[in-house]
């Protein structure tokens, strides 16, 4: 799951770059860029959850 999250994050980045190329209107660009950022945030959440250690894993 942690690797899936890390793969989703570049996908969000390419969405923001696509927004620059595909749209010329600032409003459309802005919405699309924000969508890309939301995708990145989802990927970050998945990556964070995937990396959470099980309780007691770090016990001495």
């Amino acid at each position: 799951m942690k690797y899936a999250g890390l793969l989703v994050m570049p996908a969000g980045f390419f969405l923001t770059v696509a927004a620059l190329v595909l749209f010329s209107q600032p409003a459309q660009r802005g919405v699309f860029v924000v969508c890309g950022l939301v995708v990145e945030c989802l990927g970050l959440v998945v990556a964070v959850r995937g990396h959470m250690p099980a309780r007691g894993e770090s016990r001495l």
């Binding site: 980045f13 770090s58 016990r59």
Partner: protein
């Protein structure tokens, strides 16, 4: 209002470049301050390894940048010219990596601004490399830290620096896509602070928490820093470095004239002060008393935010930016530690990554040109979507060659005894883990 943008660009002069050089010679004080913070927030049985590690990390970063990082950043003109390598797609040119010279060849004959830019970037990569060192405290091996530093300072930071400062595609968002002045980062909030903070996150994911941090039952174990005086003096030392850092960045990356530099300094102080005030109030409200280490993180978060905003914002806007950073930081530190099980002893993710991202976002509102907010969002998307996965991938590969984490016996013994053979405080009693429970 953008104070740096409303005053005409100065004619270059030796005196002006001399000022920039003096500022750049003071800027490493910020690194010294952060080294003290990193050491103070770790445990006493790892203090000598922590401060030696800061020194080693700075050394490796400088050498890695000189050998190949500067070529990637494209500061000095190389065989293919200083413009960098670009490809054409969708009707636009995408300058993605520098084409500077390796081994700093041609440095002495380069124009003075290029030499100063290289000095700024060299200090910047060292700064970025010190940030994750604090997050790996008490469990990150020195050799692995040095190897990881070569990656951060030799590849990741220079790549971002080329995109932002070296005429790369993020800098070209202004002329190519009519997005304000392109991605703005005059003080290294993105190229230094966020890159360092995200490297810390990737590192913590790979290292895992300190032994005993998250027991099977109950809340996480408190492992307070061993020396609040180091931490808070490091914050004061950091202010001096940050003042020089932001002013030098305004000169080099925004062509700010002398008349615009005092307001950059004022904004830096105001941002840090507002952040400290906010963190003091938040911790006082939540815990009944102000928390020294969280206040230090809040202060640093204000300084990090100023790296993005100081050359672009008004004093009132700087106070606002600092206030938000000071509110976010203690809450995020708590969220990361308690809810997400991310053991970050130095609070680098909150103070450097999150505060830097906030500052870069705020610049989009403060900068006067239309489209600036979108340019800043694209820069933030680059940091989260490219830099974080890239650092994680490189660190994960390196971890297979040079294991990052010390063995359990070494961690129990303390990094000082295990790695250096002697402690930082030989005459003091070193507490056992149980004393923190």
């Amino acid at each position: 209002m953008n104070p740096a943008a409303t005053i005409p660009i100065p004619a270059s002069s030796d005196a002006y470049y001399g000022l920039a050089l003096v500022l750049l010679l003071l800027a490493p004080l910020a690194i010294a301050g952060l080294a003290l913070v990193n050491t103070g927030l770790g445990r006493s049985r790892s203090a000598a390894q922590a401060i030696l590690g800061n020194l080693a990390v700075v050394s490796v970063a400088a050498i890695a940048f000189a050998l190949f990082g500067a070529a990637i950043a494209g500061v000095l003109p190389g065989t293919a010219g200083g413009a960098g390598h670009a490809f054409h797609a969708a009707g636009h040119t995408w300058n993605w990596i520098g084409s500077g010279s390796f081994l700093l060849s041609g440095f002495s004959s380069a124009p003075v601004p290029a030499q100063l830019a290289l000095l700024f970037e060299m200090a910047g990569v060292a700064f970025a490399a010190v940030i994750p060192w604090g997050s790996g405290a008490d469990r990150w091996r020195l050799a692995a830290g040095c190897a990881a530093t070569a990656i951060v300072a030799g590849i990741v930071c220079p790549l971002m620096m080329h995109w932002v400062w070296g005429g790369g595609w993020l800098a070209a968002l202004g002329p190519d896509f009519s997005l304000g002045a392109g991605f703005l980062d005059p003080g290294g909030a993105a190229t230094v602070q966020v890159v360092g903070g995200l490297s810390a996150l990737a590192l913590i994911w790979l290292l895992g928490p300190r032994a005993g941090k998250y027991p099977r039952t109950g809340i996480s174990t408190a492992m307070p820093g061993h020396n609040a005086v180091y931490v808070l003096f490091g914050c004061l030392l950091g202010l001096v470095g940050w003042l020089a850092w932001n002013a030098a960045g305004a000169i080099l990356w925004m062509n700010a004239p002398l008349a615009a530099l005092p307001i950059v300094a004022v904004n830096t102080v105001l941002s840090a002060a507002a952040a400290l005030g906010a963190t003091l109030a938040i911790t006082r409200y939540r815990f009944g008393k102000p928390d020294a280490s969280l206040c230090a993180n809040g202060w640093l978060a204000g300084l990090v935010t100023s790296s993005a905003c100081a050359a672009v914002a008004t004093p009132v806007e700087s106070i606002f930016a600092g206030l938000v950073a000071g509110i976010i930081t203690p809450l995020l530190v708590e969220l990361l530690e308690l809810a997400l099980s991310i053991d970050d002893p130095s609070g680098a993710i909150a103070a450097h990554a999150a505060a830097g991202l906030w500052g870069l976002f705020a610049v989009g509102f403060f900068a006067p040109k239309p489209g600036q907010l979108i340019a800043q969002l694209v820069g933030i998307a680059t940091l989260l979507g490219i830099v974080l996965p890239l650092v994680y991938l490189l660190f994960a590969l390196l971890n297979r060659i040079v294991p990052f984490r010390v063995d359990p016996d070494g961690e129990r013994m303390g990094m000082d005894l295990h790695e250096l053979g002697g402690g930082a405080y030989p005459e003091f009693v070193i507490h056992r883990d149980e004393s923190y429970r």
